[in-house]
């Protein structure tokens, strides 16, 4: 952080967007980072900015893969199962497998 106000300037989208509008709020990203483990001490000011772009890339990748599955099923609505399939079939998303299966198990109505 170079000076006081730099970070909050980014948050409010101020400095007339010279840094570019961020699609995800940096404060929220920072909060999530801090929650990831108890011993996260300090986070550089640029770290949430990298994450805002990285999460954008992640969302795009999952969405594209899920949409491909939706299209294969001749549907137009991406459903949770499409997202789950996209995650399961991608190696780098292994860390998300439990998450998608967990939510699928806990929230789906039992099938007859």
């Amino acid at each position: 952080m170079k000076r006081a106000g730099t970070y909050s300037g980014i948050l409010s989208g101020g400095i007339s967007g010279r840094t570019g509008p961020h699609l995800l709020p940096l404060a929220r990203i920072k909060k999530i980072m801090k929650k990831s483990s108890d011993d996260v001490k300090m986070i550089s000011g640029e770290a949430p900015i990298v994450f805002s772009k990285a999460c954008e890339l992640l969302i795009e990748e999952i969405t594209k893969r899920a949409w491909n599955i939706t299209v294969q099923g001749k549907r137009r609505t991406i459903c949770k199962e499409d997202v789950a399939s996209a995650v399961i079939t991608t190696d780098t998303f292994d860390f998300l497998v439990n998450l998608v299966l967990d939510s699928a198990n806990s929230q789906d109505s039992p099938r007859p």
Partner: protein, 237 residues
């Protein structure tokens, strides 16, 4: 519904091996004090299942604590940007992706944090994050992220260099006022010690809207008269 054990993301492999990793719970322990539950979200019974009209069995859904996720509107915006216009997204798909994003952030951060610990550093830097991504298989993100970060740093440096310039040089770039302005006393103007004294009316012109110390001074950052040409006393002869 069975209660899932609450864990943090400190050790992915250990928890994964234990088979009971539940990543949504990282935020749930830190709820508002007014919440009387043990930390789980409040169960709310809704009507028939929203996604399965053939199976109208009422089931419970839970209010999700939103501040452990990125806002869903942002997620939807990013998704819609790359989907064709006729595509639709179900609500639970949106929520699932929202959860995936939080999990991703936690996952990468925990690995980056470990790296910082090993190297006896306290601050997680963008380089740590990029290193973690490469280690965890997200190499294809590295290049666009590096470009993005470099572009951000360039813009940031440009912005900082404009603001940090000594006031003398800033005065040089000042565009001459259009009309001879009356000389007015300037009791409220902040005193700035510099070589070329600019009269208050000129200052108003120069700064445009407001004279904030750290305010944007973008209006006159373009080329202006050089030091040789600038004569602050021209209008007052």
């Amino acid at each position: 519904m069975e209660e899932v054990p609450k864990t943090t993301c400190t050790s992915w492999t250990a928890q994964q091996a234990a088979g009971n990793f539940s990543n949504n719970s990282t935020g749930r322990e830190r709820r508002h004090p007014g919440n009387t539950t043990t930390g789980l979200v409040t169960p709310v019974v809704i009507g028939s299942g929203t996604n399965d009209p053939n199976n109208p069995i009422p089931h419970q859904t839970f209010k999700r604590e939103q501040d452990q996720y990125v806002p869903i509107a942002n997620v939807i915006r990013i998704m819609k940007r790359i989907l064709p216009a006729h595509a639709k997204i179900s609500d639970d798909a949106k929520e699932t992706i929202q959860e995936c994003v939080s999990e991703y952030i936690s996952f990468i951060t925990s690995v980056a944090n470990e790296k910082c610990h090993q190297e006896h550093r306290k601050t997680i830097t963008p380089e740590d994050i990029l290193y973690s991504m490469e280690k965890l298989g997200f190499e294809n993100y590295i290049e666009p992220l590096t470009l993005f970060l470099n572009k951000y740093r360039e813009q940031d440096m440009e912005r900082n260099s404009v603001l940090a310039e000594p006031f003398t040089r800033r005065a040089v770039r000042f565009v001459q006022p259009q009309q001879p302005a009356p000389i007015a006393p300037a009791p409220t103007m902040p005193t700035v010690h510099h070589q070329n004294y600019i009269y208050p009316s000129a200052i108003n012109n120069y700064f445009g809207q407001t004279m904030g110390g750290n305010g944007e001074c973008s209006s006159s950052s373009g080329a202006g008269p050089t030091n040789a040409e600038f004569n602050p006393y021209a209008q007052f002869k």
